[in-house]
């Protein structure tokens, strides 16, 4: 029996013992086909999913090599049934191909006639397939390319998309590498994406996803449509692109609620694209406005459902998804896979932190004990009100203040989900508030003041969840959130992970009310980060508020 670092479980998870001497080699061997699910400190969990196996098949690995890797590194005998299952699953990919036929245009080709007959009979594909050309080929209308791929994935016969991409309208874009260089993992991410044609790059917040996007544009050298979550994030993209590439202010257009510019590089928000008038999407023309050579989706995990539908029509264009996490609260990971593309690159957060690209962070959960009056108010509140009552307890205010004082020489962000509470906090801490109704101009002013250090403390509402670039923020204090959202927690931590000038440690505090639903949500939120290797420390509010009382022995 070998003494490998890997343990294969019957539920198709793989446990990798990190401290084992062969752990690195094993990680290299299994990374192509297994998805990293959790990476706490000692044992990382990978999962074998059909998506992952098909990904690796698409990258040219065969079942034999997967099975060999498992057997080579496995500590214990691998069940025969699992090996058979892997071989059978991998064999399903590529039996069907989408290809360009010189005569008939886009066609679905079956390398296995029986499979082709099986899927052609399926009701789910009704209306997507055209005339049968011969035994092995069926015509497909080009507009159905995305939907067909979606449907075939659901049937368990994912098609290999060999139909290629249009080059789009050429536009010169280069990286301006003056005094900085693309980091090694960023370059790997871009290479991985370009080799695959379309797909998603997963990098932690603060690891420079914008630069991956910029480098992809420099590789494509074509007009680019960038979809971002909100206007502020869009402006940051713009600023970054001007600084890091040969693009100028005039070449970059903003397509948002305020401005409707369409230029060689256009940055549009999800919100404006999904806004409707009289039930119809009014800004769909944007997708056809130019011959885009590349479409970049920022924060793919937030992609709203209508955008998926538009994306289904964009299958001939290269698509790059950027995200810190593929976890979607709505579970539509399969749609991301079939419409934007498979995952092309990902690296565990801790690895990048170890390389010094993101700041090391300390995560602390501070538990406050509610006063008896608050406990009574919580006990009698309606169930839908309970989280608000617990999360906005006034007892949290002195704790937040104590934390701010503790870090009085650092830039502190206070993030919350309830506006009343934020206003209370603003008054209590004497700090300005940025919320949804704050004008973009006012936001820019406050962010600039925060960046240059004249403003030490800033209170943020949910707008702080996404894509706000505040590199100097070193401390984040979370007082309330959107229930148990895991990706929100990751995003908020990301706010303080930009590497600091002096390599300081970042701090992330989560203030929760003990013995309430707030605690339950907090532990659910922490799950993702704990799985990424961030160990939360839990302290009592009393430890924060003052030195412990001297003990009398």
């Amino acid at each position: 029996m070998s003494d490998g670092p890997l343990i294969v479980q019957s539920d198709k998870t793989l446990l990798l013992e990190v401290d084992h001497p062969d752990a690195h080699a094993c990680r290299m061997a299994i990374a192509p086909f297994a998805e990293l699910e959790r990476s706490p400190e000692h044992v990382h969990t990978y999962r074998l999913t059909p998506l992952g196996l098909w990904n690796s098949r698409a990258a040219g690995h065969d079942a034999e090599s997967v099975v060999d890797a498992l057997i080579k590194f496995s500590r214990y005998p691998v069940p025969h049934a699992l090996l058979v299952d892997i071989a059978e699953t991998m064999d399903r990919y590529g039996r069907l191909q989408l290809a360009n036929d010189p005569v008939h245009g886009l066609v679905l080709r079956g390398l296995d006639r029986i499979v082709l007959v099986e899927v052609a009979k399926s009701k789910k594909l009704a209306g997507m397939l055209g005339a049968r050309i011969d035994d092995e080929t069926i015509a497909v209308h080009p507009s159905e390319r995305g939907r067909l791929k979606q449907a075939l994935l659901k049937l368990g016969w994912p098609a290999e998309d060999l139909a290629g991409y249009v080059d789009g309208e050429a536009h010169p874009i280069d990286l301006a590498e003056d005094g900085w260089k693309l980091r090694s993992y960023q370059q790997e991410a871009v290479d991985g994406f370009w080799a695959g044609g379309s797909g998603v790059v997963v990098l932690p917040c603060g690891a420079g996803k914008t630069l991956v996007g910029a480098a992809a544009m420099a590789t494509a050298k074509a007009t680019t449509l960038i979809l971002v979550t909100n206007t502020v994030a869009g402006r940051q993209w713009k600023r970054e692109l001007i600084a890091r590439t040969s693009l100028t202010e005039e070449e970059i257009g903003e397509y948002s609620g305020e401005r409707k510019e369409i230029r060689a590089v256009t940055i549009a928000t999800y919100q404006v694209l999904t806004s409707r008038r009289g039930g119809a999407f009014t800004h769909l023309d944007l997708f056809g406005a130019r011959d885009w050579g590349l479409v970049i989706y920022d924060e793919v995990h937030l992609l709203p459902a209508p955008i998926f539908r538009f994306t289904a029509d964009l299958q001939a264009r290269r698509r790059l998804g950027l995200t810190a996490t593929l976890v979607r609260e709505d579970g539509r990971e399969g749609d991301v896979f079939s419409l934007i593309g498979p995952k092309r690159y990902d690296a565990p957060w801790k690895d990048i932190e170890a390389q010094g690209w993101i700041a090391p962070a300390e995560c602390v959960e501070v538990r406050v004990t509610l006063t008896d009056a608050e406990r009574m108010a919580y006990a009698v509140s309606e169930s839908e009100e309970r989280y608000r009552v617990a999360a906005t307890a006034r007892t949290k205010l002195p704790v937040v203040k104590a934390l701010v004082e503790k870090h009085r020489n650092e830039q502190v962000l206070v993030i919350g989900g309830f506006l009343d509470q934020l206003h209370e906090l603003g008054d209590y801490l004497d700090a300005p508030i940025v919320q949804g109704s704050t004008t973009n101009k006012e936001r820019e002013r406050l962010f600039d003041a925060f960046r240059d250090g004249s403003l030490r403390t800033l209170v943020l509402s949910k707008v702080g969840n996404f894509s706000i670039d505040l590199p100097e923020a070193a401390v984040a204090i979370q007082v309330s959130g959107t229930f148990g959202s895991r990706q929100e927690e990751a995003q908020r931590l990301g706010r303080v992970l930009r590497p600091k000038g002096d390599g300081r440690q970042a701090h992330f505090y989560s203030v929760v009310s003990r013995d309430t639903i707030d605690t339950e949500y907090a532990s659910h939120r922490q799950r993702f980060l704990a799985e990424q290797g961030y160990a939360y420390t839990i302290v009592d509010a009393d430890d924060v508020l003052g030195p412990p009382l001297p003990k009398i022995d």
Binding site: I7, V8, S10, P40, H42, R75, P77, P79, A81, L82
Partner: protein, 820 residues
């Protein structure tokens, strides 16, 4: 015929007789009285059929050749005649086959005058080697055609292509074809016993078939018959190809068709034995784990037994999901666990309205013993029971004849032949050598050659055996594993330890071999900050019990992953752990530092644990006046009601309300009762009464008196019995013994099958036989008769004087003995 069959047996040396009995062990079960009885049994249909079942394809074909080469007049043949038919094959192979047949006494007599045992013709196809009957037997004109070799050749050559195709199909055997469309759909009754592919049922359209066949019939190449093996009839619905024409058409392969003296060895990949063992061992762990998961799920929620027996589809799905295996594998494991006695029926199901309580399937007490054993031992238990169980799990989920799904544990999946099929399948694989992993189809081909009569119809069972072997880890990567090979030869564990209570003391070879392949149990865990606890290997029983108590299982397999949650910590506190115990447990077991989160979680949960208290009481006493309650509590007269203070204003007592109220009133207090809503209840004394009973009615004494028709019936029965006894006095002892009449010194009871054998032989020999039978009134009689025919469930026989023909239903015959 120089000597009789019995004489030949009698003249055998002891060794040869012993060999025969070894080759055909059923001849001596039960031990026959003498050599004549042995001879009768050796020629009986049952025994001959059983012997033929064990013969391989080549030997059976040689037997067919023997039948073909018999001279029409003497029914004798010779080795040379047989060799003539088998040109192209090594004569030594043929001689060896003939020797095998002679050793089994299917052929007897000297080499130049061989005789085939009569029953062979009765239990095999009327068409040896797939050839029809001789032409002159079928039809004079066909005989004339065959006699003229040149004309025959011309006719066959001039056949139109469609007709030639029909001829080729019939020549390949069986030589029977349907004439019209109506009988096309009916399976041709002729059985092919030569192992050649079944080609006798042309399934093309009538228009295509009828015309060429008509032509062939007109040319007398085909002869119409009414029924396979029956006399030819011009208006028959079937056609038969005469033997001589069939042999002519088989010029290329030889008259017997393709002969394969050696078994068709399947070629396939040969696995590295270690790789096969490793994959198998992995599957063993998986099978044991899945079985345990299924049984745990069953224990958590018992599954009702369906009215028709078996486990419902929904329950099967649920158990399969709980174990994380597909339904086919789950069905196999459930059947195996049932066969191993780990699952049983119990009557503890919830009582439905009105009806009786339904039975439920639950794990048995044996399950707890099984679970305590090591993985290898547990597997060996499962594997042995799987080998021996008369169930065919592959049928589960299929549909039966009436298109109803077959359920797990249902009677429909019972197959008596399953254990033998499983043995055959695994032995065939074992004989191929270490690491051989041929495709299943090739193995089925080999099995078909080894014993065609048995394997035909058992393909499903064989396939099922291979599928089951893969799921249970008996095979790995398609090859038989080293430990399973030991299991196949392993003797059963001895009877001194029937319960398997001390498996570790003397583990069987297979268990020991398997143990070496399985990971050693570990006694430590890795605790991580996300509150997961990883056991990097199979946990020791003690560790497993501890983790079961304090954490939720999340994933199982080579290792197990648990997660500590507030609920799991609370559960541990509930069963008596204290926070300190939990801290110690994790510190002691963990190889890595215990994360602060876990420590905090335990302390936090322990702090809240017990914040609410609950208990039961028979009654309560409350008052806003604390002083009054204090007085009541201190009152000596109220000691018997055991009052206890649980809050300043509440006392409780284990006694019922009425008792408490009575005691209080007696002591001079003025209590009032409350109902569940808190309202005052007024009570009034009630007169007491006992439960009403129905008085007993006297019963009549003594047995009832008989009169009228019932009395007459008894008398008639007595008389009839008397007559039977007198008649039976003339019959031999065996017949009398079978009729239940005590015979001093003789208690032999004849088996029904033996009676049949005697009758069959008597028909052949035209001998007189004593037949014991039960008449339509239930009386036992015996008669000396001369059997004429034995068919369709009836014996037809002439009576002693040969005057009249009697018919006996076979099921009423209790014994038959040849007249001495």
């Amino acid at each position: 015929m120089a000597t009789t069959f019995a004489d030949q047996l009698r003249s055998l040396p002891d060794e040869a007789l012993g060999t025969l009995i070894q080759l055909r062990p059923d001849l001596v079960v039960p031990v026959p009285a003498d050599i004549s009885a042995l001879a009768v049994r050796a020629q009986s249909r049952n025994s001959v059929a059983r012997c033929l079942d064990g013969l391989d394809e080549f030997t059976l074909l040689i037997l067919d050749a023997t039948r073909l080469s018999r001279a029409t007049t003497t029914a004798l043949t010779s080795v040379d005649a047989i060799l003539e038919l088998t040109a192209g094959v090594d004569p030594d192979d043929v001689r060896a086959a003939i020797d095998r047949l002679r050793a089994r006494f299917l052929l007897h007599g000297p080499p130049e005058a061989l005789q085939v045992v009569g029953a062979v013709d009765e239990v095999t196809s009327p068409y040896p080697a797939g050839l029809g009957r001789p032409a002159d037997f079928l039809d004079a004109q066909a005989g004339a055609l065959v006699a003229d070799r040149a004309k025959l050749r011309r006719t066959v050559l001039s056949a139109p292509p469609a007709a030639r195709a029909v001829l080729d199909r019939l020549a390949a055997g069986p030589p029977i074809g349907a004439l019209n469309r109506a009988s096309l759909n009916r399976a041709a009754p002729g059985r092919a016993d030569d192992g050649t592919p079944d080609g006798g049922k042309p399934d093309t359209d009538r228009a295509e078939v009828a015309e060429p066949v008509r032509w062939l019939v007109d040319q007398h190449v085909l002869v119409p018959v009414s029924e396979a093996g029956r006399a030819p009839r011009p208006d028959g619905e079937l056609v038969e190809l005469p033997r001589e024409i069939g042999m002519l058409l088989r010029r290329e392969t030889g008259p017997l068709g393709t002969l394969r003296p050696a078994p068709p060895l399947p070629d396939g990949p040969v696995r590295d034995p270690r790789a096969a063992d490793s994959a198998g061992a992995g599957q063993v762990m998986e099978a044991v784990r899945a079985t345990e998961a299924i049984l745990e799920a069953l224990a958590a929620e018992a599954a009702p037994v369906l009215r028709a027996g078996g486990l419902g589809v929904r329950d099967l799905k649920r158990l399969a999901k709980a174990a994380g295996v597909d339904e086919a594998a789950a069905a196999l494991l459930i059947e195996t666990a049932y066969a191993a006695g780990l699952i049983g029926e119990s009557e503890v199901g919830a009582r439905s309205a009105g009806g009786p309580a339904p039975d439920v399937f639950l794990p048995t007490g044996a399950y707890d013993l099984w679970r305590a054993a090591g993985v290898a031992q547990r597997w060996a238990t499962l594997a042995r029971c799987w080998l021996a169980m008369t169930r065919q799990p592959g049928l589960i989920g299929r549909r039966d004849d009436r298109d109803r799904p077959i359920n797990a544990l249902a009677p429909d999946a019972e197959r008596a032949g399953a254990p033998q099929a499983r043995r055959e399948a695994l032995d065939a694989l074992a004989d191929l050598g270490t690491g051989a992993a041929p495709p299943v189809d090739a193995l089925l081909g080999l099995l078909l050659w080894q014993a065609p009569r048995r394997a035909r119809g058992r393909e499903v069972a064989h396939r099922d055996a291979y599928a089951g072997a893969a799921v249970l880890g008996v095979t790995g990567l398609g090859a038989l594993t080293s430990y399973a090979r030991l299991l196949l030869t392993d003797p059963e564990p001895d009877e001194t330890d029937p319960l398997g209570l001390h498996p570790a003391e003397a583990p069987a070879d297979a268990v020991r071999a398997l143990d070496e392949l399985l990971p050693a149990p570990v006694d430590h865990v890795l605790v991580q900050a996300d509150l997961t606890v990883v056991v990097p290997g199979p946990p020791e029983p003690e560790l497993a019990a501890e983790l079961d108590a304090v954490a939720e299982p999340e994933s199982a397999g080579g290792a197990s992953v648990f997660r500590v949650t507030p609920a799991s910590v609370r559960r541990a506190l509930d069963i008596g752990y204290r926070a300190d115990d939990l801290h110690t447990l994790f510190r002691r077991r963990s190889r890595t530092p215990v994360p602060q989160t876990l420590t905090y979680l335990i302390d936090d949960t322990a702090r809240k644990h017990g914040g609410l208290r609950s208990g039961s009481a028979g009654s309560y006493l409350r008052s806003d006046d604390e002083a009054l309650l204090a007085e009541v509590l201190g009152d000596k007269r109220l000691v018997p009601v055991d009052l206890r203070r649980i809050a300043p204003t509440v006392l409780v007592s284990p006694r019922p309300v009425a008792r408490l109220l009575g005691a209080l009133r007696e002591a001079g207090y003025a209590p009032v009762a409350e109902d569940a809503g808190g309202a005052t209840v007024l009570t009034r004394p009630k007169a007491r009464r006992a439960v009403t009973r129905t008085p007993r009615v006297p019963e009549p004494l003594g047995p009832p008196l008989l009169a009228g028709p019932r009395l007459a019936g008894v008398v008639e029965q007595l008389r009839r019995g008397d007559i039977a006894t007198r008649a039976a006095r003339r019959a031999p002892v065996t017949v009398r013994a079978a009729q239940g009449q005590a015979v001093p010194g003789l208690t032999a009871v004849q088996q029904h099958s033996q009676a049949m054998a005697v009758l069959q032989q008597a028909v052949r020999d035209k001998a007189r036989v004593w037949v014991g039978y039960v008449d339509s009134h239930g009386a036992t009689l015996s008669r000396l008769v001369k059997p004429v025919s034995l068919s369709a469930g009836y014996l037809r026989a002439e009576d002693e004087r040969g005057e009249s023909l009697h018919t006996f239903a076979l099921h009423r015959i209790t014994a038959a003995v040849t007249e001495e």
